[in-house]
Amino acid sequence: MYGAPTVRIVHAADLHVDSALEGLERHDGAPVGTVRGATRRALENLVALCIAEDAKLLLLAGDLFDGAWKDFNTGLFFVSQMKRLREAGIPVVIARGNHDAESRIPKQLRLPGNVRELPTARATTIAFEDLNVAVHGQSYATVAVTEDLAARYPMAVAGTINVGVLHTALDGRPGHDTYAPTTVNKLVDRGYDYWALGHIHTREIVREDPWIVFPGNLQGRHARERGAKGATVIEIEGRRVVSTRHAPLDVVRFEEIRIPIAGDDGGSGDAIDRARHAIGVAHGEAGGRLLAADVVFTGSPERHVALGPNRDRTASDVRSVALDVAGDGVWIARVRRHVTASPTGEEDGARKDALGRLIAAARACGASLDEAAAVLKSVDDLRDRLGESVTAGIFPDAASAEDRADFFAEVEELLRAKLGSSPGSQP
């Protein structure tokens, strides 16, 4: 007695085709070519996955594009990939999300016949009778959809696999606007077998019975979108979703590699050696993809002394060992220093000399807005001249204690480097 044949459906969301990867500062030897068109190649990987898995259906749960097209080529490229699926006989159901809502991207493209777009007016059911699958869903008409769309989705069709496609933040997720808000219970109430969600860029299986899944975005786009990105493969046997699995499809993997500066680091070489090891490990875990890594050295101000005052030199050293250990498989995007509290909390703070006072003043600025306000005025004109595009998130938000602390930790480090020792001083 043989079981029912396995039917596979692929679920992806938040493709953000042609959105540029952020935070990758170029340097000599950076593998620029690998990064180019990463979101496009991730989409190509998705299409290749559907074909390789012999998928019977592809569900795209919103934010296929990053916003109104500056370049019509973006849409044309998407169509070309959908045509590949058409040639492979794979139908596609797409929903529009907040980034590609109908108001932002009017229907200017002629999509191939295998692509069905969910309407914006109301929730609709598309039946795939040969698969015994019913797909329910609705697209965003406008950018900010604040009503609970899921509440108006039809109830499950008896005797078939019911799949809901929805772009939503559920009841809220950090870092994401709460569009189309709803609750897990409301989704469960619809009686569907699988909820194919989009909008949240981090993969999350909210629930397994029924399946409620955020597949995450297809390609990480900046240092905060770390780890493996890709799509979810749904396996159906008979009238039941039996399993799901994540298929990594990203071509550039963002990671943050934190290197604590050890107490016995006698010089930058020791810390750089440990960075070499950590980069090698992370590169191995990236599975052959380009690893775009921020390397962060952490430790108290005293321990940062071991790295020396020249940040460019440190960055260059780290990039050099990365090249050595992983060739062009790693792009060290940034090398940062994160100053943590002194383990004793007193060394420099206890210094009574002028440098000690200066350092204490820098720390006071980090801790107190009143102290910092006058000093921060010195960068106001720079902020005005450079504009929001350059300074947003870079210049400290005076009201944010964390921003101030980070900023003045860097100021402290610079002052230490410039004033810390006196050339030629011998007792």
């Binding site: 990867l21 500056k70 044309l76 003043a361 720079l382 610079l414 004033l419 001083s425 011998q426």
Partner: protein
């Protein structure tokens, strides 16, 4: 806190070995350390610094490997506590207690040093003449700006002005307004440029639609052109058909005319003339051929006769091949017999020589009895070799036996030890292992004890830090998780913020109310406001005045009337004024009411906010009280410091736990030591020397003694074992050698016997040696071999001669039968060959004669048949045979013209698409072929133009479709440019951050410079002024602050009534100014914080005697506050110090030789 060096001992350090500087128990005197060059002054200075901050791993003062660098220093802390410490070079516990050698934590020393690190100490508490000059130069470069000067003097960071400028330059290098070459500007430009390029590369929806529309239009043009081409081609085809008819019609007419001209023609078949010529030629050829064949027949008959004669010369049964073979065999046998006979002679001579060499055989013996064949010789040689080998083996076995006996004798034990010795060694080893463990435990005991002390001290400090004396109470106290503190802090922060906001709102409401009250007061101060009664009175007064004016007018008195009118006019104005004022007041009242409402609202809001503020304060107080109730343990610290307190508490509890573990370990170690006593007895330590817990010294001594004994035992044991091994091996070797000897002897006997058996049958005579017998055998074998070879060759010669006789008889028989008897063999063979060839030629010649006859007969018959056919041809043409060619040509022309006419008629019918020629001729009748041709050319030109246009359009469509396909794939160039723009933006953002940090650093540093100046300007400058006066021996009266060129405060030096800026000072005076500032700052620093020793290294080298005197007086003055160590190599400085300061104020020390 103050630190003073009581004494320092270098034991050793660099070249200093056992050198001690004792600065005495009393604070105050200026410590002058004199030493000539190379006396170790610089080494001592480095040693002092290294003592405080550690001896570097690559110290240049490590002159000898293996020698531990040690500096012992006694420090006086806070004038009442003396520390005795030793600094060692190394990574493990380099700082130790001088008395106990117990490790001392670095952090303790760091704490006593006020957190000052090596660099800071060098900057702040050390000064040499180079730094002094640098500081003075820096004053000049900074143009005496007070802020920088003060900070520089108090931090010791020379070149502060330059550093500040470097920081500004760094900020400017990153970004300057309107500068295009800074890194940040370049990155921003790259970003903008890539963004612009991205816009250019982007494909718009409109462009896409235009492309599609363009293709559709071009396609329509192509379709139109196709239709036109189709129509034109139809027309052209019609015209071309008409044009094509012109030529066939003309040719048809011409052919018909020519056929008529030929008239009637006889029907002569095609090729008749040619056939006639062929037949005539065949008749001639056949006749010639018959004649030539008949002419050859007589010659062939003669040749046949001659051949038959030659064939009959030798009989037919003669076997020529057999005769030739026998002739060759006879010759070859003759040659072989001659050769064998010659060789036989040679062999006979060799055989005779061999026999002669052997000598005559023993009497009565024949050769055959002594013959030796090869097998017998080989056997004898083998036996001889075996016999020689057996002799050699026998000799070797005898030698081995003798040697083994000798080794047995040498290894026979003479001093066997008892087995008990081995048991002693085992017991000793066991005890030794136990003692080593005990020793290790004992050595850790000191460390553990020191650690216990240190932990006890640290625990005391830690408990004090957390405000608790009882560690158990501390451990039992309930404390919150740090997150709770964070939450509470956040909550309090939020409460504070809310309260502050409420108070700000309250303040704002109060200000609004105050403004409203002030405005109301202002409105109220607007003066008396007229009432409606005032207005009515004014109007009544006006009316009265008017009445009086009219009355006066009626009287006619001009003066009276004029006065009355003026009065009326004034009354009118007054009434108007009152009315205006009343209208104005109405609006004021309205405004007043509004302001009053605002005041009321503001006051109400203020009341509400006061209530809210009070509630917020109560809530805050309640929250704090609740928190304090929940976590009473935190009552000892402010909440902001609670996390730090928790960390310290955790550290204190950790220290307590470690202390407890250490004490447990100490007890364990002591228990182990008590157990070690039994082992000490085992190794022979006297029981009277043992305490209950033996010391490490006792254990180590016992270990050393036991190790020595154990070594001796083990050495003797090894020797015994080695000798027994040698004896056993030698005995075994002797037994083997004896066995080998017996075996060798038996082999020797057997070999001798075998050899004698091998030579026995050959009758060699009297006994001989093996080699002699073997040589005789070899000679016998050689003679036997030669004799046998000679006999075999003689037999072969006889056999050859028999064969020759048989061959000669056979030859004679054959020639006799052929009738050639007596003829030489060669001639016999030649004649036989000629006869054989002639017999072969006879049938050939007979066949040739028959063939010639057949040829002649056939040729005659062919000629006859050709003549008959020629006659038939002439008869069929009806002309003589010589006219056949002309008749045939006319018939041929007529047939050709008729065929052509028929073909042209068919063409015309076909081209006109008619059924008959008549219809065809009617079809073209009246056509003007001149006009038709022109029209055709025009149509062709039109078609060419249309096709060219269509081709262009098709090319266009192709290009457009290709472009469209490319577009459909979705070019990624704009997306790539977006990536590039993003990369530039990332770079720009990184640089912007750096620029902001640099600018903030500059701002912060400038602010701190100013703060520093403001704080220290008064006390430090006053003290510096006094010291400057002292240092300059009162040539300058002091310092004051003036305005600099930039308006900022600037230091000025005062001499009498005059002031000088630093630019106007001499180099030496600037040195004194810098020294005064440094000393004043140091004193101030010492009073405010930690007073560490000031170490001066040859700081007075640029000072003349007078300035040196002044400087020493000033330094002695400073020495009352901080310890001053003046190192100098100048003898004069020591002498001046002694002379100027006197015994009570100076302490003079010598490194090397004293003056």
């Amino acid at each position: 806190m103050s630190v003073r060096i009581r004494s320092v001992l270098f034991e050793p350090f660099g070249a200093l070995r056992g050198v001690e500087l004792d600065f005495g128990p009393v604070a105050g005197p200026l410590q002058v350390v004199w030493g000539p060059n190379e006396a170790g002054k610089s080494t001592a200075l480095r040693g002092i610094v290294d003592f405080f901050f550690g001896i570097p791993r690559d110290s240049s003062d490590q002159h000898e490997r293996g020698v531990e660098l040690r500096i012992r220093m006694r420090l006086v802390v806070d004038d009442d506590r003396e520390l005795d410490l030793v600094r060692r070079k190394g990574s493990k516990d380099p700082l130790r207690c001088g008395a106990t050698d117990a490790p001392v934590a670095e952090r303790d020393l760091t704490r006593w040093m006020g957190g000052v690190d090596r660099d800071t100490f060098k900057q702040l508490h050390a000064l040499d003449h180079v730094r002094l000059r640098e500081g003075a130069d820096s004053i000049l470069r900074g143009e005496g700006r007070l802020g920088e000067l003060m900070l520089e003097a108090t931090s010791g960071a020379t070149g502060l002005v330059d550093r500040l400028q470097a920081l500004r330059d760094e900020a400017d290098a990153l970004y300057r307004p309107r500068a295009k070459s800074t890194e940040l500007s370049v990155a921003i430009e790259g970003w903008k440029s890539a963004t612009r390029a991205m816009g250019q590369e982007s494909l718009s929806h409109t462009a896409w639609n235009e492309q599609e529309r363009g293709i559709a239009e071009t396609r329509q043009r192509v379709m139109d052109a196709d239709q036109k081409l189709k129509d034109a081609r139809i027309d052209l085809a019609k015209l071309e058909k008409l044009v094509l008819l012109e030529d066939p019609l003309a040719r048809l007419r011409h052919r018909r005319m020519r056929r008529a001209q030929l008239g009637p023609v006889a029907d002569v078949p095609e090729g008749t003339a040619l056939r006639r010529d062929e037949l005539a030629h065949e008749i001639a050829t056949a006749s010639g051929e018959a004649e030539r064949a008949e002419a050859e027949l007589p010659r062939l008959a003669v040749e046949l006769e001659s051949t038959r004669t030659r064939a009959s010369a030798v009989s037919l049964d003669f076997d020529r091949a057999g005769a030739q073979a026998r002739s060759v065999a006879i010759v070859a046998l003759g040659r072989a017999i001659a050769d064998a006979t010659t060789e036989l002679g040679d062999m006979g001579r060799v055989r005779d020589e061999a026999l002669e060499q052997l000598g005559p055989p023993p009497e009565g013996l024949a050769w055959s009895a002594r013959a030796v064949d090869a097998r017998s010789l080989t056997r004898a040689e083998t036996c001889a070799a075996e016999r020689r080998a057996a002799r050699i083996a026998l000799a070797a076995a005898e030698r081995a036996h003798v040697e083994a006996e000798a080794r047995i004798h040498a290894a026979t034990p003479t001093d066997a030890h008892s087995a008990a010795a081995g048991r002693d060694a085992q017991e000793l080893a066991s005890a030794l292992a136990a003692l080593r463990r005990a020793s290790a435990a004992a050595s850790s005991l000191d460390g553990l004890a020191a650690r216990e002390i240190e932990l006890t001290q640290r625990l005391g400090v830690a408990l004090a830090d957390v405000g608790e004396s009882d560690q158990d109470a501390l451990a039992a106290a309930s404390v919150p998780h740090p997150a709770v503190i964070d939450d509470e802090l956040r909550r309090r922060g939020a409460s504070e913020a809310k309260l502050a906001a409420t108070e700000r709102d309250l303040l704002g409401a109060g200000e609004r109310a105050a403004r409203a009250v002030a405005e109301l007061a202002s409105l109220r101060e607007g003066g008396a406001v007229p009432s409606a009664a005032d207005l009515a009175a004014a109007r009544e007064q006006r009316d009265d005045a008017m009445s009086q004016a009219f009355e006066a007018l009626d009287t006619g008195a001009l003066d009276v009337t004029r006065r009355a009118l003026r009065t009326a006019e004034q009354s009118q104005r007054a009434a108007d004024t009152v009315a205006d004022r009343l209208r104005h007041e109405a609006s004021r009242v309205e405004h007043f009411a509004r302001v009053d409402n605002e005041r009321r609202d503001a006051q109400q809001a203020a009341s509400a906010l006061e209530i809210a503020a009070a509630q917020a304060k109560r809530a805050r107080a309640a929250g704090e009280a609740e928190f304090a109730t929940a976590w009473p343990a935190l009552a000892v610290v402010p909440l902001e410091a609670a996390r730090g307190w928790l960390a310290r508490r955790s550290e204190a509890l950790g220290t307590a736990a470690e202390l407890s573990a250490t004490r447990t370990r100490i007890e364990e170690v002591r228990s182990e030591l008590r157990q070690a006593r039994a082992h000490l007895l085992v190794v022979g330590a006297g029981s009277n020397a043992l305490d209950e817990s033996p010391s490490k010294l006792v254990i180590d001594a016992a270990i050393a003694s036991a190790e020595s004994r154990l070594d001796q035992e083990r050495t003797a044991e090894r020797r015994r074992e080695e000798r027994a091994g040698i004896h056993a091996r030698a005995t075994s070797d002797r037994d083997v050698a004896a066995s080998n000897l017996d075996h060798a002897r038996s082999i020797d006997d057997a070999a001798d016997k075998a050899f004698r058996q091998a030579i026995g049958p050959h009758q060699l005579g009297a006994p001989q040696t093996t080699e002699e017998a073997l040589a005789t055998l070899i000679a016998l074998a050689a003679a036997t071999r030669e004799t046998r070879r000679h006999d075999r060759l003689a037999s072969r010669v006889g056999q050859l001669r028999g064969e020759l006789a048989v061959a000669q008889q056979q030859w004679s028989d054959a020639t006799s039968r052929a009738g050639l008897e007596g003829v030489e063999p060669d001639e016999v063979l030649r004649r036989a060959e000629v006869a054989r060839e002639a017999r072969a030629d006879v049938p050939r010649i007979e066949e040739a004669i028959a063939q010639r006859r057949d040829v002649a007969n056939a040729a005659r018959a062919r000629a006859d048949r050709a003549s008959g056919r020629l006659a038939d041809l002439a008869q069929r043409a009806g002309v003589p045979d010589d006219h056949l060619a002309a008749a045939e040509q006319r018939a041929r022309d007529a047939r050709a013209l008729e065929r052509e006419i028929a073909g042209l008629e068919s063409t015309v019918i076909e081209m006109t698409a008619t059924a008959t020629l008549v219809e065809a001729e009617a079809h073209v009748r009246g056509v003007d072929f001149t006009v038709t041709s022109e029209r055709t050319e025009q149509l062709r030109a039109d078609i060419d133009a249309l096709e060219a246009s269509r081709t262009r359009d098709l090319h266009d469509i192709g290009a457009q479709l290709t472009y469209l396909e490319q577009m459909e794939r979705g070019s990624g160039s704009a997306a790539d440019l977006a990536e590039t723009a993003q990369a530039h933006l990332t770079r720009a953002r990184g640089l912007a951050r750096r620029a902001a940090v640099a600018r903030a650093a500059v701002a912060l540093l400038e602010r701190e410079i100013e703060r520093h100046r403001a704080e220290r300007e008064g006390p430090v400058l006053r003290r510096a002024s006094d010291l400057f006066r002292l240092l300059t021996a009162e040539r300058w009266s002091g310092l004051r602050v003036g305005d600099g060129d930039d308006g900022g405060p600037e230091i000025r030096c005062v001499r009498g009534e005059r002031e000088r800026s630093v630019k106007e000072l001499s180099e030496g005076t600037r040195d004194q100014l810098y020294l005064a500032l440094r000393l004043a700052a140091l004193e101030h620093h010492a009073r405010a914080g930690v007073a560490l020793p000031l170490v001066l290294d040859d700081v007075l080298v640029h000072f003349d005697d007078q300035r040196t005197e002044a400087a020493l007086i000033a330094l002695a003055e400073v020495g009352k506050t901080v310890q001053v160590l003046l190192f100098t190599h100048e003898q004069r400085v020591a002498e001046i110090a002694r002379r100027v300061l006197g015994q009570g104020s100076i302490s003079l020390h010598e490194l090397g030789r004293m003056p």
